[in-house]
Structure formats: C-alpha cells, structure tokens
C-alpha cells in the first residue's frame, strides 16, 4: 500500500505521537483546568506544552496566544466570524479552500464587502494585485499559504507587509504548509495563523487552532462558542483573555498530547530538512508525470515554489475512475475530485471534473514515488 493522501491527513505518524496519546489515556486521563488535583494539573501541563511547541514552530509571540480548537476550519471560522463586521472589506484569493470561501460568502450576505483576487492558472497570487484591491475599509486579507490542489506557495511575507502598511489584519491558512514549509508570524507579518494538527504537524485529527497576534484587537474579537473555561467561574460573562476567551468546554487533551509529540518531532527533524526532502521527491514526481504521454500536470511544475501536493489528470480517464483503479489495482491511496476547493479548480481550469492529487509526506520514499509513476504510466497507456 502506498499512501499519497497526506494533504488530507498525514500517515503514518511518528511513533512518539501514538505513545503520547496512550500515555495520556492510561496514565493521566484527567480534565485540565477543571480541578486542582495532580492529574488535572498534569493534563494542564500537557496542553501548555503543546501550546509552547506550536508557538515555537510558528514564531508566535506568546504560547498563550495559541488557541486550540477542533481543526483549521474552525480556526478560520473563528477569525472571520469573530472579527469581521458589516461594512468591513476583505481581500482573499481565488485559490482558497472552502473553509475560507464559504464563511466569507456567508459574511458577504451579512454585509461585508469581498474581493477575490485572481491567481494565475498555475495557482500563484501576485501581491501587487492585493495592493490594488485595497480600499479604505479593508479590514482583513485572508490568504491560503499553500494550495491543497496544486501546492502553490503564496508570497505571504509580501502580502503581510502590504496588510501592515494599510493597517489591515493578515490571516493565513496554513493547513497545507504548517510544518512542511517555513512560516513565521514575525518574519511573514502574520496576525492570525490558522493551523491544523493532523497534516504536516503529524498530530491526531481533531487538533488545530488559531494563533492570535498582538495586533488583533481583542476587545472586538468575539468567540464562536462560549461556556466553561475553568477560569473566572464566578462570572457569567465570557473571560476576555487568551486563550480562555476562545476555548470553552473540555479540550481534546488526548489529541493535544499527540500534537505536542508531533510538533516536537517536526522541530527535532527541522522544517528545513523535511522541506528539502519533500521538495526533492515532489520534483521527481512532477518530472516523471510530465514525461508520461497523456498526463497533464497542473501548477507551476517547479517544486521550489510549492509544497508536496501535486495535481494532474490522465487524458481519457476521469479522476474518479483513476482514483478507484489506483486504489484497487495498485494499492495507491490518493484523493481525486475538487478537494473542497471549487475556486482553486476554476483558477487552474479543472472545474467541475477536478484532478488526481498525489500528496507526499515526510515518510514518503523514492521507491513509492517511482511505483506511483509506473502505475500512472500504465493507466495513461491504457486510456490512450
């Protein structure tokens, strides 16, 4: 079996992740912040350690500015719904995932102004187009760092500087880049960084969150969910401090224990080193695909400008048929279709049929890439 669906969720995970999950379930098991006994405190330490690890990875100003949640979708919804008000103007790109596009379209109906800046057919944003789209009431720029369809990496630092100069906030969707491509809140001028725990941070599903930078006006940042936080319990009003304001109810400590282990594994290996290996394999995969007659490769074709997410099609075979045959006949697991990103597929010209997506991870080998190329060559030969 060859797992090439790492953009949906990474697999396998480093063994440390499962060990941390089992350790929590068997040895700790208590609810953090809901009691003062030793196990509750230990659970609280695990959550805090996970905050520290994530803060270190992304250059967050303070671990307490890391707000944990269910996934990156929830984090993006929190940032958009929590901060935007009718009359605000928002700029986003045409490569966005529906986790940004759907909340923005809903907010548009509620009175925000939305500009969707067009990316190139290869999936790249020109920062100058963002600058041209600015208006006096532009409150936020929301940008996908790396595409889940073609892997294209956007110039976040340049867009971040444009946002700063204008006094707008900058929200980055790091779902596909976090852990796999360098991203630093300070260097890249990111105000709100939405991340997922279960992709290139190698944690379990059900983990993710939003890092809230110091420029974000906390007094007008509303939570999506309110409730018990274990703090200020005498008050019937939601706390106004981070992270409690945005973390009501019992957190996923099981998952966060695993997330901490995953992020520590990434930090120990080094994002640059993971990136170097994935870049090499991605280039090998794209060069191989391009050489197969009947295969159309999408994106820029240069691994230096993208993460390990590769979109392609086989002439004469629908993506869904290709996906099924890759699974059943070759044991290759990938994802086909629209990848929850209709705007991105319109941008690269593959809407509504979609593409076949091979997404590599830190555990993908050269042999697996070569076997996948051989399988695609077989299928393309048959379809001709």
């Amino acid at each position: 079996m060859i797992y090439l669906d790492n953009a949906a969720t990474s697999w396998p995970k480093p063994p440390e992740v499962a060990r941390a999950v089992v350790h929590f379930l068997e040895q700790v098991g208590a609810n953090p912040g809901r009691a003062g006994h030793r196990r509750a405190v230990e659970a609280g330490r695990i959550v805090y350690d996970a905050r520290e690890a994530v803060a270190e990875l992304f250059g967050a100003p303070d671990p307490l500015r890391v707000v944990f949640g269910l996934n990156v979708t929830e984090a993006l919804n929190l940032a958009l719904r929590g901060l935007l008000r009718p009359g605000d103007h928002v700029i986003t790109s045409s490569i966005e995932h529906n986790s940004v596009m759907r909340p923005l379209r809903a907010l548009e109906r509620e009175g925000i102004d939305l500009t969707v800046v067009r990316c190139s057919p290869q999936g790249f944003l020109d920062p100058q187009d963002v600058a041209w789209a600015l208006r006096p009431n532009t409150a936020l720029i929301a940008l996908n760092h790396a595409s889940n369809v073609v892997g294209s990496v956007q110039p976040v630092a340049e867009v971040g500087r444009i946002a700063r100069r204008h006094g707008a906030l900058f929200l980055v969707d790091a779902a596909q880049s976090g852990g796999a491509y360098p991203l630093d809140m300070q260097a890249d001028a990111v105000d709100l960084l939405a991340f997922t725990g279960h992709k290139s941070l190698y944690g379990p599903m059900g983990t993710g969150g939003l890092i809230v930078g110091e420029r974000v006006p906390s007094e007008r940042f509303e939570p999506l969910v309110m409730g018990g936080t274990g703090s200020l319990s005498e008050h019937e009003e939601q706390p106004d401090f981070l992270p409690d304001r945005f973390e009501s109810g019992t957190p996923n400590v099981v998952g966060l224990a695993g997330l901490e282990a995953g992020v520590r594994w990434v930090l120990a290996r080094g994002v640059a080193s993971i990136r170097r290996e994935e870049q090499g394999l991605t280039q090998r995969l794209m060069d191989g695909l391009r050489a197969i007659p009947g295969v159309t490769l999408y994106g820029g074709g240069d691994a230096a400008c993208q993460v390990a997410v590769v979109g392609f099609n086989i002439a004469g075979m629908s993506p869904s048929e290709a996906g099924l045959r890759l699974d059943e006949e070759y044991g290759i697991l990938c994802r086909v279709g629209l990848h929850c990103s209709p705007a991105a597929h319109r941008t690269i010209g593959t809407f509504p049929d979609g593409t076949i997506r091979f997404a590599l991870g830190a555990f993908t080998t050269v042999e697996e890439v070569d076997a996948a190329l051989a399988a695609v060559e077989d299928l393309a030969g048959e379809a001709r």
């Binding site: 912040g33 609280g44 330490r45 805090y48 307490l64 274990g230 319990s233 992270p243």
Partner: protein, 87 residues
C-alpha cells in the same frame, strides 16, 4: 494586583499566588522552576476565589524572588495571599 491580605513583614509559612487561568498557573510553575523556586499548584482556596482552577503555592521566604521572576516572564498576577496554617 491585590496584596491587601498579605500581612506586613510576613516571613514564615506559605503564600499562594493567584493567576487568571490554569494556563497561566502552569506558565508560572515553569517560570518558578527555571528560577529554582520551589512551588506547587494547588486548588484555589475557597475563601480567596470561587475559581475552579489552580493557584501557585510557594514558601513565604521566596515571595519577592518569585514575584520578580513572574514579572520578568510577564505572568499577570491576580493576587498574593498568605495561607493560614491549615493550608
């Protein structure tokens, strides 16, 4: 910061440092550990606050050193209270 319950010249026994949340208590614990100051996270004494979280218990003699270390690490403090013998 509320220090009104702290008796002047209080030197023996223990004090608790109240913070606003569990994550801050855990941060305080880390900061004090790094500063070589012995501490323990305990449930907030009921007469001090109705919080369901924890606070930081230290030896009174370490109070000034602890408060300076926490200030340097920017841990906001809700209050400092001397503990009765029962605690």
């Amino acid at each position: 910061m509320n220090t009104t319950e702290l008796p002047v010249g209080f030197g023996a026994g223990q004090v608790v440092i109240l913070v606003y949340s569990t994550s801050r208590a855990i941060r305080a614990e880390k900061v004090l550990f790094q500063a070589g100051i012995e501490c323990k996270l305990i449930p907030v004494p009921r007469h001090l606050s109705s919080n369901c979280g924890v606070c930081v218990r230290i030896q009174s003699a370490d109070q000034q050193a602890a408060l300076s270390a926490l200030e340097r690490a920017r841990v906001e403090i809700e209050g400092v209270h001397a503990l009765a013998e029962a605690w």
